[in-house]
Amino acid sequence: MTATWIAVLATAAGCYVLKLAGLTVPQRILAGPRVRRFAELVPVALLAALSAVQAATNGQAFDVDPARLAGLGAAVVALALRAPFLAVIVTAAATAAALRAAGVS
């Protein structure tokens, strides 16, 4: 087995164990009000951060891509207009795609 295969399988095993660990923590540990509130707020904080990082950065650098940011802006407008979920992501992707087709990079 090559070193690369070991890296691939170790990555897969490590990622899987981390996923399983969260599911396996006894629920009574989550019973305290602060811990429960933390578990509830974590997805909000992480998904908001992930959205911003994916939209505005590339690797360790900021990456201002006008078409992508306009797509995210269109999603915000669609959300404010109470569009259903799929309409929001289609609006976002279509806006970015249309701007790129029009030459905005």
């Binding site: 295969w5 070991i6 890296a7 691939v8 399988l9 990555t11 897969a12 095993a13 490590g14 990622c15 899987y16 996923k19 660990a21 969260g22 599911l23 629920q27 989550l30 305290g32 009000p33 811990v35 509130r37 933390f38 578990a39 509830e40 707020l41 974590v42 997805p43 909000v44 904080a45 992480l46 998904l47 908001a48 951060a49 992930l50 959205s51 911003a52 990082v53 994916q54 939209a55 505005a56 950065t57 360790q60 650098a61 797509g71 995210l72 999603a75 109470r82 569009a83 259903p84 979920f85 799929l86 929001v88 992501i89 976002a92 992707a93 279509a94 806006t95 970015a96 795609a97 087709a101």
Partner: protein, 252 residues
């Protein structure tokens, strides 16, 4: 939701849009899964074989970690550093699992397949549902649709399908950010703490992007959730998740 009009959704009180777990799950699964083409193409061009690329998508199944390993290999970095970085990136799935376990309540060996599906997209869509049954349906649908699409797309990308056109040309790079925002939107509208935590998470992640290794800034955003939880803990004895009888639940 029939007979449960006053229920607080798992993800927050009174989403103003009716969540459709199956339809939304399939839509998100297809849209995000197609990006597997980009991973397959990137992985092969970084020096992984087609089978190694596919093994990562089948077994690791967490995009950011997969891209991280391929990126380090492409830049000639050490395999150990690449593996460590990829696993570190996967640690946010542990935090998601804490919350998903409360909603999905997988028992015993059921955890084994469920764990593979604990990622950003499934978490976001599951927690946006109004009750545990819809949450389970949303998780299962999103997981399977995304898993199949991501793996087929990885194979396609590794075999050269990336040459047909880049996902960016179709605007697919904005699908993730838009979907995450859409899925936490009801929670942002539901409470001031949620909005402050989200803003602080964004600020922390962006402020540290240039100085911390890729992926760490997003995990650092969890400290915003910690601060929010310490400042405004859940009310004692507040109802369990998505209790049909609960009125506006301050804990959500």
């Amino acid at each position: 939701m029939p007979g449960c009009e006053r229920a607080a959704p798992v993800g927050g009180p009174r989403a103003d849009r009716q969540p459709r777990p199956v339809r939304d799950g399939i839509g998100l699964g297809l849209a995000v899964g197609v990006s597997g083409v980009a991973f397959g193409a990137a992985a092969v061009s970084s020096g992984l074989t087609v089978w190694q690329s596919c093994a990562l998508s089948v077994l690791a199944f967490t995009g950011a970690s997969q891209f991280a390993l391929a990126g380090v290999i492409a830049s000639g970095g050490s395999l150990l550093a690449g593996t460590a970085g990829a696993i570190l990136l996967g640690s946010r799935n542990t935090l998601y699992g804490l919350r998903l376990a409360e909603v999905l309540r997988p028992r015993g060996l059921r955890r084994v397949p469920v764990a593979l599906g604990v990622i950003d997209e499934t978490t976001a869509i599951t927690l946006a549902q109004p009750d545990p049954a819809a949450a389970t349906k949303a998780f299962t649908t999103t997981f399977w649709c995304l898993y199949l699409t991501w793996n087929l797309a990885t194979l396609g990308g590794a075999l050269g399908a990336g040459r047909i056109g880049s996902p960016q040309a179709f605007g697919l790079d904005v699908v993730g950010p838009a979907a995450f925002l859409a899925l936490i939107w009801p929670r942002l509208k539901s409470g001031r703490t949620e909005r402050l935590v989200a803003l602080a998470g964004v600020a922390l992640a962006l402020a540290t992007t240039t100085v911390l290794p890729v992926g760490v800034p997003v995990i650092l955003a969890a400290t915003a959730a910690l601060a929010g939880a310490l400042a405004a803990p859940a009310a004692e004895g507040s109802p369990e998740v998505a209790d049909c009888t609960s009125p506006e639940d301050p804990a959500k």
